[in-house]
Amino acid sequence: MSALGPLATRMGDNTLILGHRLSEWCGQAPALEEDIALANTALDLIGQTQMWLGLAAEIAGEGKTADDLAMRRDVWDFRNLLLVERPNVDFAYTTTRQFLFDRWHLPMLDALSRSSEPRVAAIAAKAVKEATYHAERSAELVVALGDGTAESHDRMQAALDALWPYTGEMFIGDDIDAELASEGIAPAPESLRDGWEEAVRTFLADATLSVPDSDFAHRGGRSGARHSEHLGHLLTQMQWLQRAYPDATW
């Protein structure tokens, strides 16, 4: 069961970092309706973070809390995908990042909801409902903006080209994954690849966007071996109060 902590940390760090990125949009979105929708997704992800990192903290023991993990770890202890720490750039990047992530997140949570580990199954069962809605919404936006105006199409294509090399990492397993899969706790990452590709390609075709033909994959996020420079800046903001006033309670 030693792999359970890393699983909870990976799931929780993904939702933490992506939720944070989405929260950066608050008050800046292209329309009020979008502003509200982005905040809803961010709130769902922060809620999921509390559950996953809560589980990770429980496993770590020593009276740790989800907040300790979110606010007091440094870059090398984070286990999120590189994809979710990519900056917002513009609405095209944000939407495309969400779409590529949601299409992985949904089947992942669906599989986890049948996990042999009841705590994992319970968290995933709640989260999968939220992820279903996220996936529907982001796919609709990708299709509409891809097949919108010439400008929206070009921006979406540029975002897709830039983010594509960060998708491969979702499907590359390691020893932890092998252990989780053998115990029926989590699916092997590789097993999610075909379904993801099929769904992503279908939506991208509707969006009149071309799938980049490179299969190069940046990696180092979910192992923690090599995050991007962006993560450090994100943490600088997110953790600032807790770091500056370590004795305070909030």
């Binding site: 933490l16 944070h20 929260s23 950066e24 608050c26 008050g27 800046q28 979105a29 292209p30 329309a31 009020l32 309706e33 979008e34 502003d35 509200i36 905040a39 809803n40 961010a42 709130l43 922060i46 809620g47 973070t49 509390q50 990192l53 989800a66 907040d67 979110a70 606010m71 513009d90 609405f91 936006l141 299709v143 509409a144 903006l145 097949d147 919108g148 105006t149 400008e151 929206s152 199409h153 921006r155 903001q237 997110m238 600032w240 109060l241 807790q242 006033y245 004795d247 305070a248 309670t249 909030w250």
Partner: protein, 324 residues
């Protein structure tokens, strides 16, 4: 609250005007298709528009701390609150739209300075305690104005206010909750809490607008029941309610002349600096330029998205028609 210095149109006294005023006096709601004096319509657009803009610009000072909120729970609460403000702006724009103006048009008027928003949002949020002070004082002042507006004469505005008041009930409480934590916290936290109260006290008092004796527009708006109380009434009510709360927190209201007046049953207090208020209204507040620039950037950067979604919707509609 958000309606400071709303210029009210003068009413002419025709037969129709008199009948309209009688409807209002009978507490009938005016609905979009009903006849209304042009002045009533214009004043309402100004007031509801200003109220809506205040919600949207008001997202910025608190949005400033979402990415720095100290815990996951605080982050979620703050995000939900700022999201509510976007929702409230949306409800109010929709109410104004029933008067024959579009949201985009109002947005353009905000961005080019033809329409205003509340002066309070031109003050910076410098520490986490400001999230407490804004919720406690600014939302507290806003609620004081918004609760009576649920009975305002214009139906869509009144209905928007009902929804807003229901949703806002948690906003002031979350602010006070932050203040309590800070006031009971470490020395540094207490200092932050006092500093936030020091900076937000007088700007909060300004939210109610200048004294009624200087307000030329109040009488007509009150007759039309689109302004329900005088500025001074609400300001006094706010002070009376807030001072004991500050005492509970162990914080000092930054007004040496503040004292309870046994005779009047109210607190005597120092008026805010109205020349500062006029400066802020004119665009010279500490954050006016930043706020409008942020709204402009969001609007300009979002144009391709709004157009892209519209273009796609039109393509789909055309395809459906072609298939029929």
């Amino acid at each position: 609250m958000y309606a400071q210095l709303v210029k009210s149109e003068a009413a002419e006294e025709t037969e129709q005007d008199r009948a309209f005023q009688e409807r209002i006096d009978r507490k009938e709601k005016i609905e979009p298709k009903d006849w209304m004096p042009e002045g009533y319509r214009k004043t309402l657009i100004r007031q509801i528009g200003q109220h809506a803009h205040s919600e949207i610009v008001g997202q910025l000072p608190e949005g400033n701390w979402i990415t720095r909120a100290p815990t996951l729970e605080r982050k979620a609460i703050l995000l939900a609150k700022v999201q509510d403000e976007a929702g409230h702006g949306l409800y109010l724009y929709c109410a104004a739209e029933t008067l024959g103006i579009s949201r985009d048009e109002m947005t353009e008027m905000l961005l080019d300075g033809r329409m205003k928003y509340s002066s309070i949002f031109n003050y910076p949020t410098l520490t986490w305690a400001d999230m407490g002070a804004v919720g406690w004082l600014v939302d507290g002042a806003a609620i004081m104005n918004q609760v009576p507006l649920q009975r305002t004469s214009y139906g869509p505005y009144a209905r928007a206010m009902v929804r807003i008041c229901k949703e806002e009930s948690f906003h002031q409480r979350q602010g006070f909750d932050i203040m309590m934590k800070m006031a009971q916290g470490t020395t540094a936290q207490k200092k932050m809490a006092q500093d936030a109260l020091d900076r937000f006290w007088f700007p909060s008092l300004m939210m109610f607008g200048p004294s009624d004796k200087d307000s030329v527009h109040s009488a007509q708006s009150m007759a039309w029941k689109i302004k329900m109380n005088t500025n001074d009434e609400l300001r006094q009510k706010f002070v009376d309610q807030t001072v004991p709360q500050a005492e509970y927190l162990g914080l000092t209201v930054p007004d040496p002349d503040l004292r309870w007046n046994e005779e009047t049953g109210h607190y005597d207090f120092t008026e805010p600096d109205w020349s500062e208020f006029m400066d802020v209204i004119k665009g010279n507040g500490p954050c006016n330029a930043d706020r409008i620039e942020a709204r402009k950037k969001a609007w300009d950067d979002g144009a391709w998205v709004r157009e892209g979604l519209m273009a796609h919707a039109e393509k789909r509609r055309a395809a459906r028609v072609a298939a029929q």
